[in-house]
Symmetry: none
Subunit: 201 residues, 2 copies
């Protein structure tokens, strides 16, 4: 007898929905049959249909609109990252590791920007003047400049976690100095300075 024989209804439903999408060649924005229709067509209770839909909704594969229906949606792999991270981090939540990863990501971002030829650091918006959290807003802008959404998302996530367990802040003057180094094009010095800021932890 096989060990993992029992396949749950909602799993079956997922497969059938998959096939349905392939058969009908549905793409982004297209509407799936209603939950009640699916219930009949796939021979499962509406509760099971919903369990399946809720699962792929959390994955970010569909979007539901009350009163309208269920729609395919552009897949965003990092849709559920927030949720995942909370679970993933439950054993790992040491302050040191968080800070280290955050630092490494930021340094990596600076390095990558340094390597890209068409980056003009002087374009950094002056909006930073009105910022309450210079560090976060500065790197938010840097990550956005680099352009990789996932990269930004991961950093943002780590940053959020740190702020929830550690409220210590760094003197603003440090970041003003860092910003000046960046804007004047001295990226290597900026990277060193950035590292020095973290060394105090």
């Amino acid at each position: 007898m096989t060990n993992q024989s029992k396949v749950k209804v909602y799993q079956e439903v997922l497969n059938k929905i998959r096939h349905f999408i392939e058969e009908h060649e549905l793409t982004d924005g297209d509407r799936l049959p209603s939950e009640r229709e699916l219930s009949e067509q796939l021979n499962a209770s509406r509760a099971s249909i919903r369990e399946a839909l809720r699962a792929i909704e959390l994955l970010g594969l569909i979007e539901t609109r009350h009163g309208e229906g269920t729609f395919l949606r552009t897949y965003k792999p990092y849709h559920s990252v927030e949720l995942l991270s909370t679970f993933v981090l439950r054993e790992v939540k040491t302050k040191h590791e968080l800070l280290e990863v955050k630092f490494l990501l930021e340094q990596l971002c600076l390095n990558q920007l340094l390597l890209s030829e068409n980056w003009d650091p002087s374009n950094l918006r002056q909006v930073l003047d009105e910022s309450n959290d210079l560090h976060t807003d500065l790197f938010l802008q840097l990550f956005q400049t680099y352009g990789n959404q996932l990269f930004l998302k991961i950093w943002h996530l780590v940053t959020g976690f740190i702020q929830s367990i550690d409220t210590s802040t760094v003197k603003e003057t440090h970041y003003i100095e860092l910003i000046n180094l960046i804007k004047s094009g001295q990226i290597n010095q900026a990277i060193d300075y950035h590292a020095s800021i973290y060394r105090q932890f």
Copy 2:
């Protein structure tokens, strides 16, 4: 009036479960309260509880055993792979972002190992000989060697998502070469070689 105001019950439940896990410091293998208990404690119907649990089950965060209960489980990014791949094959931009982040994380790992003085690359286990996925197993070992759990988990997460949308593999010989470079201590060359592997994408 806000547009996305309505938060669904199952999403609330997910948050509450998250908090529960953190409060009670549950870890892999620990049991969650039964669905009926959760239903009472979290003030939601069992149906909603199940929608939440099914969702994170699909993500691979929990495991349910009929007649026993619901248990936390080591996160397995490979879990929902087949499902995702069918949905995801369109939309290339995110794939590129995923690959880029994966590459950057790996390069970062190599770089950090290079910087650490007490690392002896010759200690790389030969177990890799029996590997089905040289790349993954190699870097799994490297990340473990570096020792930052969070760093490893993030990489693992990204890797899992990538495998769900891209089954293309790289010739084993490339990794044998890479491993040789690492083991012989030529880390800088290894980093270059690693980059060259990714350039083909």
